[in-house]
Amino acid sequence: MAAKQKEKRVLLQGNEACVEGAIAAGMRFFAGYPITPSTEVAEQAAIRLPQVGGRFIQMEDEIAAMAAIIGGSAAGVKSMTATSGPGFSLKQENLGYAAFAEVPCVLINVQRSGPSTGLPTSPSQGDIMQARWGTHGDHPVIALAPATVEECYHLTIRCFNLSEKYRMPVFLMTDEIIGHLREGIVIPDPKTLKIENRKINKKIPPFAVPKGEIAPQSAPFGQGQRYNITGLVHREDGFPTNSTTIAGELCTRLMKKIEDNVDDIIEYEERHLEDAEVIVIAYGGTTRAATKAIELARAKGKKAGLFRPITIWPFPAKRIQEIAKKAKKFVVAEHNYGQLVHEIRLATKDAVPIEFLGKVDGTIIMPNEIEELI
């Protein structure tokens, strides 16, 4: 702690930290359409990208912004967009396209109160299930949730790394609490960061996956490999087909990218689980209230602990099952009417009683509200 205090910290908003992380990860194209509470991501990208030789475009709407970053990434430039609630709804069709066409890209969703245009300036975690199921059809999903401004920086880098490695869109599911929070963060030396870049092999068909590899290795458009990209079921050469065999193989392969690599993708934080009888499960902006609630409860002699999924999708079901064996009770807190709690119930199959605390009024969950349930 003392050493950390001495390092130089800069005051950044969560939204700004996302942009700094993205640039460190190699993002050089941002297309967006402003929407509260995500607008600062676009503003910061507009300031920062020209300074590092990148491009920023404000598009005519969210749909076009999503389409633009798919194009940017297909041309080989790490690309990102940011949005909130209504904008996330609009992006769903193109997100499905990016997942099926295996185009790496990153979307920052700064969640606000919904449904519809809801409460634009108020926090929410109401898009958790939309992140998983928002676009039609079965498709792979990776979504991460930061609990601090520093994590906005690091998890945005991780979003890019995962998107390049698995060749798919990756979501940073942040929220108004963290997006608009300013705190001091240490910006690391870029040399110390691990940055992934997509693997390229022009000698094999663009959508072929070599043995032992996770994703296709097509070259960016314009680099000498001529191929087709489509949202239709496609062969390894990228052209559409009605073959049911290929459809089955392709859709299964896309889901297996995640299923076979959950241990690589899933991250979580645990506190006081060695003796915890009551485990509070919270993520994103709710974490800070949960941590405080646990501190208050422990000061009163109650054995409380925290489980925080950092990776929301794929959901850390295996670990939830393990910790459920030792716990007397789970307390799940989310800024919604109950979303991730469904996954927890599914994973634990009533092995442990679950108390749920949800909020849909746009106010923030306070530590004492969680503590009362411990």
């Binding site: 205090q5 005051l11 705190e183 001091g184 941590t291 923030i364 306070m366 530590p367």
Partner: protein
């Protein structure tokens, strides 16, 4: 430093949020831990505006104010709304144009008048307030606060904002 849980309130457009950001920056420069956040309505101007700063040593933990130790109020509606229920030892700095509710620890200071008459620009009220707050609470060294102010105010307004800060500290 004891944990400071501070609320800055007023009307949208008064620079309340900027003042809170500057104080958080100054606290950071001075080696403390600080977080800043805000709540506001969809309107950019005129609605009740609230910003929060927490300053402490070590981990900040929960990022929102639970028990305010300090309140700044620049409008009557924000003073009425946010003074309700605060502890008696919570220090409230209110603009002297406001009617102070009884029973609270309220320090009236002519913040807006000083900005308008002494500096000649109402828009520096937020910086006058910052000077007044820091002089009263002694949170950070004055030169650190000045450094933070100059980092955030638009170029070409350095002089007027420095004057505003000094005038605030003298209140």
């Amino acid at each position: 430093m004891n944990r400071q849980e501070m609320r800055f309130t007023g009307s949208g457009g008064q620079g309340i949020i900027l003042a809170s950001v500057i104080l958080a920056e100054a606290a950071l420069i001075a080696g403390h831990t600080a977080v800043q956040s805000q709540t506001y309505g969809p309107e950019a101007r005129g609605g009740v505006c609230k910003a929060e700063v927490i300053i402490c040593e070590g981990d900040i933990g929960f990022t929102k104010v639970v028990k305010p130790t300090f309140l700044l109020a620049l409008t009557q509606s924000s003073l009425d709304r946010y003074s309700k229920g605060v502890d008696k030892d919570c220090i409230i700095i209110a603009d002297s144009s406001l009617v102070a509710p009884k029973g609270y620890n309220i320090v009236s200071k002519p913040i807006i008048q000083t900005a308008k008459e002494k500096i000649g620009k109402a828009f520096v009220s937020n910086i006058v307030a910052l000077g007044a707050i820091n002089a009263h609470l002694k949170l950070v060294p004055p030169d650190v606060l000045k450094e933070a102010v100059l980092k955030y105010v638009p170029k070409g307004t350095d002089e007027i904002n420095t004057k505003a800060l000094e005038a605030g500290a003298a209140l």
